[in-house]
C-alpha cells in the first residue's frame, strides 16, 4: 500500500539527510547519474533485490506488513526467531523507551516451527519475499533439529542463527558470548541445512573478532552484526525496573555507533566474509554508514516501528545516495571509504 498522503518523490527523512560531495576520482564518465541503479547485492550466493533487509524481531513474521509494503520488493525479510516449540514470551511491560532508542524484553514469543511453516512461511513465500529464517534454540541439538526441519521447506533463501538474543532465561543461552559455544551451534546448523547460514552476534563481548572468527571457522557463510545490547532502565517514581524482565535489549539509533564500529572491526579482521549490518538504521544515510565500512547488506530494525515503510524508503534513499557519490552499486561503497581522515 502506498500511502497517498505522501508526495512522491520526496526528500523524506528515510532518504538521504545530506547530499554528500562527490568523492574525488569517482566521477561518472557520463557526468550524470543513470536514472535507475542496480541496487541488488550478492549475499552468500543469494541475489537480494536491494541491500536493505527487515531485521529479525522488528518485522514480525512479515505477514503483518503485507498491507504496508510490497514484501517482494524488499531486500529480504528476516523472520522473528522461530523455535522448535511455541514460546509464550515475557510478561508486560515488554518495552521501555530510552534516549534515541528502546529496551525490549519480548522473550522470543513465536508459534513454534510447525505453525510457522504452515502459516507465515507459506504466506511469505507466496508473497514473493526473499525469506531469511531466523532460528533460536536452547542448545546446539535444538538448533540442529530446527535447521533440519526447515531444510525441507521451500521458500527459504538463507538461515540466520540467533546466537545473541539477550532476553533468555540463562546467560548461557547467549551463545555468542563464547566463541566455542557459538561455533558449536553454527556447526550443528551447518550439518543440518544446505542453505547459506548467517550467524547473528552480540557486541556485548570483549573480543567480537574472536567470536566472529570462531563461527566462520565453524562454517558460517556470513555474519549479522549486531543484536541488541543488554540494558536496563528504572522508573525512579515507582522504584521498579521499567521492564517486567528487569533487563532487556537496547535498540535504535542509540546503538548505531557501536554497530558501525563492530562491522568495521570485523570487516577489517575477516575480509571477504559477508556482513549484514544492523543497529539503529532509520535513514538511508545510516545504511550507507554500514555499507561504507564493509557491510554487504543492512537490516532495518527499530526503524520499522517508527515508519512501517522504512525498509522500502531506506532502499530508495540509498539509490539516491549511490547516485550522489557516483557509485554504480552498493558493493562499490567499501572501496570508496576513506579510513584515513
Amino acid at each position: 500500500m502506498n500511502p497517498e498522503g505522501f508526495g512522491e518523490p520526496h526528500d523524506g527523512p528515510a532518504g538521504s539527510e545530506s547530499v554528500p560531495h562527490r568523492p574525488e576520482g569517482s566521477g561518472n564518465p557520463q557526468g550524470g547519474a543513470p536514472k535507475v541503479r542496480d541496487l541488488s547485492v550478492d549475499l552468500c550466493g543469494v541475489r537480494l533485490r536491494t541491500p536493505v533487509l527487515a531485521a529479525s524481531g522488528c518485522f514480525g513474521f512479515g505477514r503483518e506488513m503485507a498491507g504496508w509494503v510490497d514484501l517482494a520488493a524488499l531486500g529480504g525479510v528476516v523472520t522473528k526467531s522461530v523455535s522448535l516449540e511455541p514460546r509464550r514470551g515475557r510478561p508486560t511491560p515488554r518495552m521501555a523507551e530510552t534516549p534515541s532508542g528502546m529496551l525490549n524484553a519480548i522473550g522470543l514469543q513465536n508459534p513454534g516451527v510447525e505453525a510457522f511453516c504452515a502459516g507465515d512461511l507459506r504466506f511469505l513465500a507466496d508473497a514473493g519475499a526473499c525469506v531469511v529464517a531466523s532460528l533460536v534454540g536452547r542448545d546446539p541439538g535444538e538448533f540442529g533439529r530446527l535447521a533440519a526441519r526447515l531444510d525441507g521447506e521451500p521458500g527459504i533463501a538463507l538461515v540466520e542463527v540467533n546466537l545473541s538474543c539477550p532476553n533468555v532465561e540463562h546467560r548461557g543461552e547467549v551463545f555468542a558470548t563464547d566463541p566455542a559455544a557459538a561455533a558449536e551451534v553454527v556447526a550443528a546448523v551447518k550439518r543440518a541445512t544446505g542453505r547459506p547460514v548467517l550467524a547473528k552476534l552480540t557486541a556485548d563481548v570483549t573480543d567480537l573478532v574472536a567470536v566472529a572468527r570462531a563461527v566462520v571457522d565453524a562454517g558460517a557463510d556470513g555474519l549479522t552484526l549486531i543484536n541488541t545490547l543488554l540494558g536496563m532502565a528504572v522508573d525512579v517514581r515507582t522504584r521498579r525496573p521499567r521492564l517486567a524482565a528487569v533487563t532487556g535489549g537496547l535498540s535504535g539509533p542509540a546503538i548505531r555507533p557501536v554497530a558501525v564500529r563492530c562491522v568495521w572491526q570485523v570487516a577489517q579482521a575477516l575480509p571477504g566474509v559477508p556482513i549484514v549490518g544492523t543497529g539503529g538504521i532509520v535513514t538511508a544515510d545510516h545504511a550507507a554508514e554500514f555499507l561504507l565500512v564493509g557491510a554487504t547488506a543492512v537490516a532495518v530494525g527499530t526503524g520499522s516501528f517508527l515508519n512501517p515503510r522504512a525498509v522500502v524508503e531506506v532502499a530508495d534513499g540509498l539509490e539516491r545516495y549511490l547516485a550522489a557519490v557516483g557509485a554504480g552499486s552498493p558493493a562499490e561503497l567499501p572501496a570508496m571509504f576513506k579510513a584515513e581522515r
Binding site: 498522503g5 504496508w68 508486560t92 515488554r94 519480548i106 532509520v282 520499522s304 516501528f305 517508527l306
Partner: protein, 272 residues
Amino acid sequence: MRPVQELCEVLERRRAGAYQALTLVAPRIAEAARPGQFVHILAGEDRSFPLRRPFSIHRVESPGTLEVVFDVVGAGTLALSRLRPHDVVDVLGPLGRPFTPPEEPAGCLLVGGGYGTAPLFFLATQLRARRCRVDFVVGAATAARLLDAMEAKRLGHSLTVTTDDGSAGRRGLVTDPLPDLLARTGAARVYACGPMPMLAAVSRLAAAAGVPCQVAVEEQMACGTGICFSCVVPVGQGAATRMARSCLEGPVFDGAAIAWAELGHPELEPTR
C-alpha cells in the same frame, strides 16, 4: 479498510481540563475510523525518536478531522503538546479492532477512567445513532482529570461521576456505582476504557451481573502494526492462555477473554 499512513496537519491543540486535545486533518483515517480504534502519532516529520504514541480516537468530525486527548507524561506527549496549528504529524490509522455495537437497540453502560474516557464519546455517538440507551459512568483522581463531563452529560441519558478525592461527583472509584447501575438501568452491554486495574474490576462486575463487557486496553506499544510484540495481553483460560497483540487483536477485547490474573501489573488489584 486497511490502515493507512497519513501526513496530517494540526488544526487545533487546546487544553481539555488537565489534558491536551489535538485535532488533526486526517480525511482518510477519519472516514474509515470506528469507535475503539486508535491512531499512532509521530510528532514531527523526521521519523525518528521519540517513538509514535498511540491514542484512541476521541471524536471524528466532518469534514475529515479527528481528535485525540492525551496527558503529558513523557517525551512523546511533551512533543505533541508543543504542536501548533499547521504543523504536520505522521499518523498511522485507523488501527486495531473497534467496539462491537449491539445488533438491536439495547441499553449500554459506558465506563471511563481518566482520559480513558476518550473513545467512549465516539462510541456514544454511534450507539445513539443506533437508538441505544447510553448511560455514562466516568471517574478520575480529581475533578480536573475528568474528561469533558459536560459532553458525557449531553451524549448520555444519564451521567454518574466519581472522583478519588470527592472534588466532583461521589467520592470513590468508578467501579463503586457499577453494581447498582447495572441493576437499575438493566444494561445489556458494558463498554469500558481506562487503566488496566479498572478494566479488570469492570470485567469482573459485568461478568457477575451476566452482562457482556468489552474493554479497550492500554499497553506499552512501539510499532502499532503487529511487528514488535510489546503490547500483548494474556487471553484465554487456564493453561491455554496466550499473549495476544493488542494492536492487532485489540485494543478492544471481550472482558471475559482476558486472563486478568496473569497480567504482570503489580498494582492490578484495586487497593480500595
